[in-house]
């Protein structure tokens, strides 16, 4: 209960963002005491006391947004009148109310700019467009609202490693609901995404600390999260793999997949369990992705086989260049320009990996020729370095022979001088 006799500071936390004067919503630095918190933190009822305690660690508190920012009420009233319905007090915001309350501030560009210039606005509008938002608006209690992901009274900024929506924690946050079979059963969606992602090329890279590797929001979006469908998945992948997406759209697969309703990139690479792409995916071998659909089609089989042969040649030639440089380096040879030459090889390999998506052997052949040129240039550098070393060694042995000759001459001269001196006497 509220200790009515207790003096409560007359000024306190911020008012809701409804005033025309943005600056007037904030308490001055000398009035930073949160009067709601000062009462609630002394209460014996844990459900009333805990929010006040948690609020001490809130990003909102750091930005001088007090309890009234969300719950309203009148903190200037030292009695229970502070909770009067006439003050607009919202003791327990409902599931559907939360996005509106958060959006009250986070959709107000002028206010947000005053609070923190780095924050973006419009999250509430995006959320309302998302599947999550639509379910929440429809009153689905299992659907998330803002606080489900961001936290409530102890809300951390997303940049904090402690925040559930920090990039490092997002996959775990999403899996909290999406790996819950019981919770997901009514939506008829799978629950193995997190498990698969962890084993995928994306997940492995992310967990190894690659800051560019995607977590859930990388493909699905954050506030406007919407699952990509078969026709749009290439655009989700193409946000990072732009070159591959464009080349894929030039391939015969692009039209064919669209007609058959196949999920573009996912058809060959998978989605949550996307594996590291390998040259073995192309061809007619047991690991070939092509053979999943084309095992009996003569022409596609031939194309797959041709591209596979080209990729094998490219792989072997690139390995030849790397092996030559590694061997030379292990032998203590300094190959000037080797790093740049191998970069050229890697760049050409990268191009080959992209151009494979066109399924055009002639275009693949053209890029494989780039690899050949880069490899030849690398081997020439190694050969030059070996020749330079041989030249140095030959020069060294000649110098050694001359030095030996000089030493023998000087030694003989010394002996001769000693003999002469002895003969000359003391």
């Amino acid at each position: 209960m509220l200790p009515s006799a207790q003096a409560v500071p007359s000024t306190g936390s911020a008012a809701p963002p409804s005033s025309a004067s943005v600056a007037s919503r904030l308490p001055s630095p000398t009035e930073a005491t949160n009067t709601c918190a000062s009462c609630h933190s002394t209460l014996t009822d844990a459900t009333l006391r805990t929010p006040a305690k948690e609020f001490l660690h809130s990003a909102h508190r750091d930005e001088r947004i007090g309890c009234v920012g969300c719950h309203k009420g009148d903190p200037r009233d030292p009695t229970v009148g502070a909770h009067s319905p006439s003050t607009g007090f919202i003791p327990h915001p409902t599931h559907a109310e939360v996005p509106r309350i958060c959006g009250g501030c986070h959709s107000d560009a002028a206010f947000i700019r005053l609070i923190n210039g780095r924050l973006s606005v419009g999250q509430a509008a995006l959320f309302n467009l998302s599947l999550h938002g639509k379910l929440t608006s429809a009153g689905d209690p299992a659907a998330p609202d803002c606080s489900t992901c961001h936290g409530k009274h102890d809300l951390e900024p997303p940049s904090s490693p402690l925040s559930p929506v920090n990039r490092a924690n997002v996959a775990k946050l999403c899996s909290g609901c999406h790996a819950d079979k019981e919770r997901m059963s009514k939506y008829d969606i799978r629950t193995d995404q997190f498990e698969k992602w962890q084993k995928s090329a994306h997940g492995q890279a992310f967990l190894a600390g690659n800051q560019n590797a995607p977590t859930c929001t990388g493909c699905h979006g954050a506030h406007a999260s919407t699952p990509p469908d078969a026709a749009s998945v290439a655009h989700a992948c193409g946000r990072c793999h732009e070159q591959e997406m464009q080349l894929f759209e030039q391939s015969p697969h692009s039209q064919g997949f669209r007609k058959r309703g196949l999920a573009q990139c996912v058809a060959c690479h998978g989605n949550h369990d996307v594996a590291r792409a390998s040259a073995l995916m192309v061809g007619v071998g047991p690991d070939s992705t092509c053979m999943k659909c084309h095992s009996h089609d003569d022409k596609p089989r031939q194309v797959a086989s041709d591209i596979s042969d080209l990729l094998r040649d490219a792989r072997e030639r690139a390995a030849e260049a790397r092996g030559a440089v590694a061997g030379a380096t292990a032998a203590g040879l300094r190959v000037a320009g080797a790093d740049y030459a191998l970069d050229q090889v890697s760049t050409a390999e990268q191009k080959v990996r992209g151009v494979v998506h066109t399924l055009d052997p002639a275009r693949v052949q053209a890029v494989v020729a780039d690899i050949d040129s880069a490899v030849d240039a690398t081997l020439t550098l190694v050969s030059n370095a070996e020749e330079a070393r041989s030249r140095e060694r030959r020069g060294y042995y000649v110098a050694l022979a001359l030095a030996g000759l000089l030493l023998v001459t000087l030694a003989l001269k010394t002996v001769q001088l000693d003999r002469r001196r002895r003969q000359a006497g003391p």
């Binding site: 300094r334 000037a336 020069g395 110098a399 050694l400 000089l406 000087l410 010394t414 001088l417």
Partner: protein
């Protein structure tokens, strides 16, 4: 008249020969050749340095790439750089051995005071040459050498801050440091060294080495041709050693320095390791004075005593020899202590 005879006549070789033959030198002992080897190493550095200077570009944007080009693309560039780098290290070693043998043999005594003082000055200039040369490749190691090496200067009493800024060419190690190092390495220090070396050799020729009392009756040989032929053997061996080191023990240039992301930690050049150990082990305060400054001040006093040695120990006492051995041992131990 043969060409050799004509040339000998024109340069007055007979007179030079008679003058050299009039000087006597010890018949035995490798240590008598150390001075000559030091001079030879200097000549090797000058010749190889001139060759390197043809291709080296002394600005922060191109210095590292030009050294990479020298070792990777210029015919025999790797060998010439190897010879230069090894000769520089051996030069410092040779200078220190020469100094040590002079102390142990008490050859600093009168009338060699000026020879000694010019020798100490040559040592300092030689260390300066080695330090500025180490900075020139502008690699990560060169950057560390410049940063850590110049950091010591800060603790030299009275002139520390000035010396620190002077070595860096400013507050930080940057392109100005490289420009400073290059200017000193190829112009200022070589000029100083030429002057000092000329003085040193002139004094040596005017005042031959004073033998130890117990070696006063040791057999001697004429400087020319006997001693110089023996020196020729030592110099040929030295050249073979340098070439072999350059061929079989390469000194990689290493990655390019990037002052925006300077490497942290790291060791200074080997001849500054004792100073590094002192700095690491120094307490925060000693007798009310900043600890490192106190210890570096003590080292400077030791240096001044060394400079004034012929005037302090006029007769060359055995105590000086013992102190020299103790100092050598201390420097070796401190160097090992500085290693990680």
């Amino acid at each position: 008249m043969s060409v050799a005879g004509w040339l000998a006549d024109r340069v007055g070789w007979k007179g030079i020969e008679a003058s050299l033959a009039a000087h006597r030198a010890s018949r035995r002992g490798f240590m008598f050749h150390v001075g000559g080897i030091t001079l030879f190493l200097l000549v090797v550095q000058v010749v190889s340095g001139i060759l390197l200077a043809i291709y080296y570009r002394p600005d922060a944007d191109h210095a590292h790439a030009s050294v990479e080009r020298i070792v990777g693309e210029i015919p025999y560039g790797n060998l010439v750089r190897g010879v230069h780098v090894w000769a520089a290290d051996l030069f410092v070693v040779s200078l220190l051995i020469h100094l040590f043998t002079v102390v142990v043999r008490r050859s600093f005594r009168a009338p060699h005071e000026l020879t000694w003082v010019s020798g100490i000055a040559l040592l300092l200039v030689g260390l300066g040459q080695a330090f500025t040369g180490a900075v020139l490749p502008w690699s990560e190691k060169a950057y560390t050498d410049a940063r850590v090496g110049s950091e010591f200067a800060r603790y030299v009493p009275l002139v520390g801050d000035w010396l620190h800024r002077f070595m860096r060419g400013g507050e930080d190690v940057d392109s100005e440091t490289l420009a400073h190092a290059f200017g000193f390495h190829v112009a200022v220090l070589p000029a100083a060294m030429t002057l000092l070396l000329g003085t040193h050799l002139f004094l040596v020729s005017r005042r031959p080495v004073t033998p130890l009392p117990q070696a006063a009756t040791a057999p001697t040989i004429p400087l020319y041709p006997d001693f110089l032929v023996r020196l020729g053997v030592a110099l040929t061996g030295t050249m073979v050693l340098i070439l072999s080191l350059a061929i079989f023990w390469e000194r990689p240039v290493g990655p390019s320095a990037d002052p925006r992301t300077p490497p942290s930690g790291g060791l200074p050049p080997w001849y500054l390791l004792p100073a590094h150990a002192i700095l690491r082990a120094a307490p925060k305060e000693l007798l009310g004075i900043d600890g490192p400054t106190f210890l570096f001040g003590a080292a400077c006093v030791f240096g001044l005593i060394l400079l004034a040695l012929p005037f302090i120990d006029r007769r060359g006492s055995r105590l000086t020899v013992w102190l020299a051995w103790i100092a050598l041992l201390a420097l070796i131990l401190l160097s090992f202590r500085a290693l990680p």
